[in-house]
Symmetry: C2
Subunit: 412 residues, 2 copies
């Protein structure tokens, strides 16, 4: 019996009609002879409502209680989905994290899955159950407290279940119909990709293309889970989505798979830092402790014995970064002339596995931006990605120009 | 260390401000040197919302999935209450039913508590925790599925916890400030009782004075748990509520403790039933199977070999009762001339342990109603209760007259 994992995000289960529609998709897979594990998110808005209650209750809350509260939305959807399937004549039941039990680390609000025992659910399939509905986003800690997996965690529940149960495929139903070469709201030339490599998806996910939780892509890559992103709302036959798969399963490709952007970036520069061994640790240690997600880092020699250090972080963490750095300065751990924050920047990235074997991709990116008169403020590169910070006012222009320059409008 | 159980119903935790107020009461008990087990209901309206989702999903739902869905409201309150207490500096944590684990029967939607292991929570008290916040209304079945205890089930969770942990008292915080001699909305002469016996409370609870779930009073009586009903909103010093206790703990009492009423009653009469042995079983068997809650039953000899059978039931079950009885007639199990439903009646009851030793209480009730010109349609009696059905238009009048007649306005 082949086994399929199907995950439905919050917008895909936003109302009882949405749940019925999703259940209809599950029913069709069952009719085609498959057993199905369905992973559900909370109904759209519900997790935000619960987080709001927590935030209004306490500004310094116990993360264990936070998890106990915010995990409840998924329990509701799981029960409703199981009932809906039963109503359609499909043998189904729901599981909450503790019932499996889906074991995680102790890291409340951002726990990682450690173990998913499969015996109980497999036993129910053997008895004739056709669908196991699993509440996403949640598990239990070694102390038997409820944990959650972070925003988007249901994607990770889905991929982890697909790996644990050896599913043939993991289908992620969402409110977009696949992964695009770039944001279709920025250019109508954006094209849906039929396939994308895990590595590329990982870069896109972490670059702010919020289709999949990064962790779920990492897991899929590690366990080679065939992962498909497709629309909950699309017509059935044409709704093939995008397959996220191993590099070798993609025969033809562009050098660049996609152009990503991230709007809410800030650039911070410590001007004229007294340079000495260990200065990077002295700067970025306190930032990490303050919970600042530092992304790009650049260090330039400015003058004899002094240097400029520039980094980027999410715009809403600028205040925290300033506090952390000024505290380190007051404690004498670092010495600089000035701390300058530029909150009018955005990040533009090109991502593609093809870059590994083609030279000149970064040069082409820089030339394209130059031709549009766009000044580059910071550059970082990885094996399959080039990212730049530019003024935010150029964001759309930069994306459109790069999309054209790399010919992404047309399939290979 | 003395241990107190405090239960807060839905209106007592309706908003975050209500939760803070309730937490304040808990904090004062902790400051007075007590350990506390807090039982919480779902925030007012939340369980209804969840039940609505279930009903809109399916008309023939799986009770196990129903329980998984509707139990989630209590989990949210438990987490929020624990956070609020922590915020006030009180060491607290939440427990969901499965974490204790609070074991129940398999009877989903109306399960009974079977076992409450105390080791884990007692261990946490020994480590310095001051408050265990327990999600009310829920437990887990022998199959490790979530069960619920029926409407008002959090009262039962509270009393069962008080019994299991040997608490000195179980305080039920609600939106009324105690148990009254009758409904204060019907007569301003209604007087709050300082004490009431378990047996009396049991009759009042089952008569529709919706202060406590019947099952919780039964449990309190069996395990002799001191049970107090008091207001979540009252001023602290004067908020002594009503103590529900053993008969022997009440020294002075009226013969009648209170006058209860139940508005939504219907009287149904099977006219001229062919009388034979087993006819009662033939009528009330099918009614029980149809889920009709038959309350009063009266049988009169009407003529040779035939009899009238009258019973009362909740007004919204009249339709179901008619269907069940007509089906039994078609199958030849019963034979009658006519089925008459009177949906314009109400039930008035007087309750008091004193009736056991005083004769003439029922006669005084009947005389009082006669003096007001109120016709009695059906009478039933128990050791400590007399109930009558009268036309609904006389309900307020009957309650006021009886309250006066038995002198309930004044303390003994």
């Amino acid at each position: 019996m082949s086994l399929l994992v199907m995950k439905f995000g919050g917008t895909s289960v936003a109302t009882l009609d949405c749940i019925r529609r999703a259940a209809g998709r599950v029913g069709r897979e069952v009719a085609a002879g498959r057993d199905v594990i369905v992973i559900v998110s909370a109904m759209a808005g519900e997790t935000n409502r619960l987080v709001g209650l927590v935030n209004d209750t306490s500004s310094m809350f116990d993360a264990r209680e936070y998890d106990a509260v915010v995990s409840s939305g998924e329990n509701v959807t799981a029960g409703l989905m199981a009932m809906t399937l039963q109503d359609m004549g499909v043998p189904a039941r729901s599981w909450q994290g503790w019932q499996i039990p889906l074991r995680t680390t102790l890291a409340h609000t951002a726990a990682r899955i450690e173990d998913i025992p499969t015996e109980t659910i497999k036993g129910k399939f053997a008895e004739g159950m056709k669908v196991a509905v699993v509440a996403g986003f949640q598990g239990i800690s070694p102390e038997d407290r409820i944990t959650t997996l972070g925003r988007g965690g249901s994607d990770t529940t889905a991929v982890a279940c697909a790996a644990a149960f050896g599913a043939e495929q993991c289908d992620i139903y969402t409110d977009v119909d696949g992964v695009y070469t770039t944001d279709p709201r920025i250019t109508s030339k954006a094209r849906k990709l039929e396939k994308i490599a895990f590595e590329e998806m990982l870069e896109l996910a972490s670059l702010g293309a919020k289709v999949l939780q990064t962790r779920s892509v990492e897991l899929a890559m590690r366990y080679n889970v065939r992962l498909r992103v497709l629309s909950s709302f699309g017509d059935n036959d044409e709704n093939t989505g995008t397959l996220v798969c191993a590099e070798e399963d993609i025969v033809e490709r562009h050098v660049v798979a996609g152009v990503a952007h991230s709007r809410d970036e800030a650039k911070m520069t410590l001007v004229s830092v007294a340079d000495r061994p260990g200065i990077a640790a002295a700067i970025f240690g306190p930032l990490a402790e303050a919970g600042v997600n530092v992304d790009m880092i650049v260090q330039n020699i400015a003058e004899e014995g002094r240097t400029d250090v520039t980094f980027s972080c999410p715009i809403d963490q600028v205040k925290g970064a300033e506090i952390a750095i000024n505290a380190a300065r007051e404690q004498g751990e670092i010495n600089f002339h000035e701390l300058v924050a530029d909150i009018d920047v955005c990040k533009i990235s090109i991502v593609g596995i093809g870059m590994r074997s083609y030279a000149g991709v970064a040069a082409k990116m820089f030339a394209t931006l130059r031709d549009e008169g766009i000044n580059i403020k910071v550059i970082t590169t990885s094996e399959i990605k080039v990212s730049v910070l530019v003024d935010r006012k150029y964001m759309e222009l930069a994306v459109q120009a790069l999309h054209d320059a790399f010919g992404l409008e047309h399939a290979v």
